[in-house]
Amino acid sequence: MLNYTIRRVAMAGLILWFVSLVVFTLMRLMPGDPTLLQQGISATPERIAAERAAQGLDDPIPVQYVRWFGGILTLDLGRSALNQASVTSEFKRRFPISFELMAFTLTWTVLFGIPFGVISAVKRNRAPDYVVRLTAILALAIPGFWLATLLLILPQQWWGYAPPLDRARSVFEEPLTNLRQFGPPSLILSFAPMASVMRLTRSALLEVLRTDYIRTARAKGLSDRAVIMNHALKNSIIPVVTVIGLQVAGLLGGSVIIESIFNLNGLGAYIFQAILQKDFAVAQSLVLYTGATVVFLNLAVDLAYGYLDPRIRYA
């Protein structure tokens, strides 16, 4: 297991390094001078030249890369070209917002996804199963930004209600306002992963329900409830849990749109702005952060599987 772990961790490190190279290169391939974009067309050539020098954009590309990557290793994510703010401190300010959104989203995903998946499997090919399956396939089809737009427009038109969109409030200081801010976007964001979890729980549970040991459990007179709760669900939950982990990658992307719509100034909205405005330091560091999150979760899933199933370790 140790051997396997070392190999996987080394691989994850290698991939992250690739990611850093790719994102660094891609940002530099984008058309348009970032300084011109940030300073506006009225800026004098002298000013742009000074700004470029100050940002170190005149240095050779490899030097820029080493400076940036060296900074990452010491947790210095660089400075935003737009307002000179430290990316590290901005990251610290925005992280709780994105984290809360993610936490809420995953809570809904588990809270609704697993139980409805179980119901669907237990009532297989009966009305509740069809309802759950149809809902799931619909939830996968509805674009989140459409629901979000309707959710903002309709209440405003009908009752003149608008959720508090000015700035994110702390859950500890204004819990109710916080819920009004994070509730709707997290619900919308959770639809797609919820549907995946429902479908997967259903198929995993059905798979287990066909096995011999479930037949034995039934034969010895256990109630349906005991069979499902104590035997079947426990054995079918592993793939579901790992898929929930992997859903986070999609959520990191989805949060870019949802945070922008609901004016939650989290990391998603930050990335979007940085990519739009070619704010190199911000975009590079944050995209690397999302990459690191995805790679880390994949690694965790792989290691968990390797631990649970020795066959994978030696494959």
Binding site: L14, G291, N298
Partner: protein, 299 residues
């Protein structure tokens, strides 16, 4: 069944009869096996018809100032009008064409590349395989939407570039699935036999491995068509997709957000169109998966 009595088929009709059930019969059988898939197929056929005949079906031209601005649904304008007085119904119809064009072309391109890369990687194995897989892993490490945003910023905004970008982003996922299937295909005895007979790698790849990967590629691409539609709509919603004057469902929804006075219809109908289209592709994909490739069931 109209089976011919002749022992040796002489005409094309006789030959066809020997081949088993025709397309229509097979379609009926498929529909029975997967009614939801049939519903999906119906949605998609309808959409394709709308896309093909949009100039005939749409009562107004794209970007035509047809009536009063910001009107609700009425007889003349079934979906209402936007702030320029353009007919939303016509925009939704023309939007179908754009959506379909983007999704079909990007998925065909992306799946073909994924098919080639995955088959090659799985068949070759060894270092080549490892290298290709690491590159694919790197691409998958980016959340898809973020990768879309970065690549789309590299290129000028145009219809063609949106197609390329979406196509590129779906390559790694495809390549990964195909590669693992190709890996097991390679171990079949017929491949060994072909190698023993002196067939070149290229020949084995194109004559044997890739054709055997086709059912998987077809199933993958059906579901991906829905994903591609969502991707195009998301990009357009963020203002980075299909540039105006092309009508796009995503950018209309975005326009509704900033419209003053509020215009619910401008958001509602394009979004409904996206939902139904993606739903159609997903249902069809699920149905095809069950019928064509049991290996992918539950994935």
């Amino acid at each position: 069944m109209a089976q011919t009595a002749a022992p040796v088929p002489r005409t094309a009709t006789e030959l066809r009869a020997l081949r088993g059930p025709g397309v229509r019969r097979r379609a009926v059988r498929m529909a029975r096996k997967s009614p939801m898939g049939a519903v999906g197929l119906l949605f998609i056929l309808l959409l394709v018809a709308v896309g093909l005949f949009s100039p005939v079906l749409a009562p107004h031209a794209v970007n035509e100032f047809a009536g009063l601005p910001n009107q609700g649904p009425s007889v003349g304008f079934p979906f209402g009008t936007d702030k320029f007085g353009q007919d939303i119904f016509s925009r939704v119809i023309f939007g179908a064409r754009i959506s379909l064009e983007v999704s079909v072309l990007s998925v065909v391109g992306g799946t073909s590349m994924g098919l080639l890369i995955g088959s090659f990687s799985g068949y070759k194995g060894g270092r080549v395989d490892t290298l290709i897989q690491r590159v694919m892993d790197t691409m998958i490490a980016f959340p898809a939407l973020i990768l879309l945003l970065i690549i789309v910023r590299l290129l000028e905004p145009s219809l063609r570039n949106v197609i390329i970008v979406i196509g590129v982003v779906i390559i790694p996922g495809n390549a990964r699935v195909i590669r693992s299937a190709a890996l097991s295909e390679r171990n079949n005895q017929y491949v060994e036999a072909a190698q023993a007979l002196g067939a070149s790698d290229l020949r084995i790849l194109f004559r044997h491995i890739i054709p055997n990967m086709m059912p998987i590629a077809i199933v993958l691409s059906t579901t991906l068509l829905g994903t591609a539609i969502l991707a195009e709509a998301s990009l357009s919603f963020l203002g980075l997709g299909v540039p105006p004057p092309n009508p796009s469902w995503g950018s209309d929804i975005s326009a509704a957000r900033t419209a003053f006075p509020l215009n619910v219809w401008l958001a509602f109908f394009p979004g409904l169109a996206i939902t139904l289209t993606v739903l159609g592709f997903n249902l069809l994909g699920d149905g095809l998966r069950d019928v064509l490739d049991p290996r992918l069931r539950g994935s």
